[in-house]
Amino acid sequence: MSAVFEQIFQIGFLAAIIRIATPLAFATLGEMFSERAGVLNLGIEGIMLLCAMAGFTAASLSGSLWLGVLAAVLVGALMGALHAFFTVALGLSQHVCGIGVTLFSSGLAYFLYRLIFGQQSVPPSIDGFKPVPIPLLSDIPVLGPAVFNQFTLVYLAIIAVPLAAFVLYRTPWGLSVRMVGENPRAADSAGVSVIATRFQAVILGGALMGLAGAFLTMAQFNAFTFGVVSGRGWVAIALVVFGRWDPWRSAGAALLFAFVDALQLRMQASGLGHIPYEAFLMLPFIFTIVAMAFMSRNAVAPSALLKPFRREER
């Protein structure tokens, strides 16, 4: 027992949890904003992949990692706008459009990547982000090296959570988002533009998904592979439900998932060599499904989720 305990509280393990949680936190917050406004974005998996590709490509062509991040965010926002165009402006099925956006974005990511980089036996890589220790804070025992000696994008994610909560609960725009997600009719009567607000929320969500993709190819793996996202987008959708559409709880859900993921990585590495590593890769997904079974009964989604709004239909 104490051996397990020691392993869990190793600094490296804590740091790994934070690192794994970062892209999930961005993606989950992005999906949450979109859903709070009443728009399910199943395009998330493909958007993350396309942004991972766009960020990697921009960074590797320009030599600037931050230009890569910017490209990923812009592409994410653009894909969010595309999804909003279909689901908000045209009022099409959010389920099927989301799948369409995912298929389109991942296809485009593969296509452009192959076009730009060709077929290479070893995928090209970049010199990714380096951890930036924060003075003083990184000297705190255990917590310091794990939390305050991380990539800048990790700090951004840590700031993004309270910021998202503030925007959602304390600003007029956040109120509009919540209104158009709960009762668009009432929001419309109160003079809030349902269409515009939903567009903004889905675009912001897409930009956050872009950050998630950027983190994968520029901090976590430093290369783009076709499996770089491998279900993280779908997981984020589950984490939003698990986090009950709240920024703090969603971030907590991302941390919990990251804990399970880091644990299975440790189990892969520790002497259980006769078990194929894929058996461990399943664990976080099974965990998420089981967690959903426990949480979904009491989870209350935004009332207008999945419902298109047309002003003239009363």
């Binding site: 956006v101 959708i237 194929p276 894929e278 979904s296």
Partner: protein, 350 residues
């Protein structure tokens, strides 16, 4: 001025016109990517067409590729009719492939093996589909999310099997041992890969149409999908209908895997499905969830996939163009479907 106007009924020719409009729009949009890749648009599409439908051998190859997408397309069409959002056809296909490969490796007479492989594959797919359906009915878990997550679980389970206990000891590669030679599906035309499973897929489509359009269960599925409240009010056990639709959908997706094992690959490997489960969604939507429409829609996507590989070899345009075409076609079809709900009317300036 133009105005959108509500529409209650649609003329019959819409069923044909809308997918065609969507496909033409898709090919026009994607021609931009061909141009970016530095190839002639007419050349590239020409190669795609001749390599997929240009001669009889190409046609058989396209049909072989269409077969799994006919099955997954039917699986999605039936599930979506009941508003059971089964995005898990990919995982159900893989489960069907694994189960049928296990059975096919047992020595027994060919026809018995074929039948048992189909049964095992269908059962495996149905069981996998039962998971999201049950989670939705009992625990209110969103079926989209659970069926998507389950795809990853099944994929990793398959990988664990072929990297571990089920690894082919003969080749040493992460692939399963092959099925018995006697269990290989008979080929219909000598010198091609056109196997019996393709015929099974072509027969399955009208059967599914009959089930949806003419049977009691089909009626219940349609009513449940269109208006669950009315269905409940009319004495339909909605949960049971959802479960039936899920079982049926999963079994069909499982059969897609059976055909790939019995007729194409004769064993299970990690890339046995290049996303046929997800393509099934595109197929079903192009077919407007009509099982009869699934066949031409699947053949179209199969032609794009087969053609894209030849196009890539001839012109250097990445074959991933076929993935972009699939996604674009799905979105274009959704937009085209707007015409079933609205019509554009010219109105005089007021």
């Amino acid at each position: 001025m133009f105005r959108l106007e509500g529409r209650t009924s649609t003329p019959a020719w819409f069923n044909l016109a809308l997918p065609l409009i969507a496909i033409v729009a898709t090919l026009i949009l994607c021609s931009g990517l061909i141009a970016i890749a530095g190839a002639g648009v007419a050349d590239a599409y020409g190669v795609m067409l001749s390599a997929s439908l240009g001669d009889s051998y190409a046609i058989t190859e396209t049909l072989v590729r269409a077969a799994p997408m006919i099955f997954t397309g039917l699986a999605v069409a039936i599930a979506f009719r009941a508003k059971f959002w089964n995005i898990g056809a990919e995982g159900q296909l893989l489960a069907g492939a694994v189960a049928s490969c296990f059975v096919g490796a047992i020595p027994m007479p060919g026809y018995v093996a074929m039948l048992l492989m189909a049964l095992a594959g269908a059962a495996a797919g149905a069981i996998v589909a039962l998971v999201p359906a049950t989670l939705r009915i009992k625990f209110k878990v969103d079926d989209v999310v659970s069926s998507l997550l389950l795809n990853s679980v099944i994929y990793y389970a398959l990988m664990a099997l072929i990297e571990g206990p089920w690894k082919d000891s003969f080749s040493g590669y992460p692939i399963s041992p092959p099925i018995e030679d006697s269990a290989d599906f008979p080929v219909l035309i000598e010198g091609t890969r056109l196997h019996v499973g393709v015929i099974a897929a072509l027969i399955a489509a009208p059967l599914c149409w009959f089930l949806i359009a003419r049977s009691t269960l089909g009626f219940r599925i349609r009513v449940t999908g269109e208006n669950p409240e009315a269905a409940r009010y009319g004495g339909i056990n909605v949960q049971r209908v959802l479960t039936s639709a899920a079982l049926l959908s999963g079994a069909l997706a499982g059969l897609a895997g059976v055909g790939e094992v019995g007729g194409v690959h004769f064993q299970v490997m990690s890339d046995i499905s290049p996303g046929y489960g997800y393509s099934g969604i595109v197929v079903a939507m192009l077919a407007r969830l009509n099982p009869l429409g699934v066949v031409p829609a699947a053949i179209f996507l199969a032609a794009v996939m087969t053609g894209a590989e030849a196009m890539s070899r001839a012109t250097g345009v990445p074959a991933f163009l076929s993935d972009v075409i699939q996604g674009t076609a799905l979105l274009a079809m959704l937009v085209a479907l707007l015409f079933t709900a609205y019509r554009i009317r010219r109105v005089g300036a007021s």
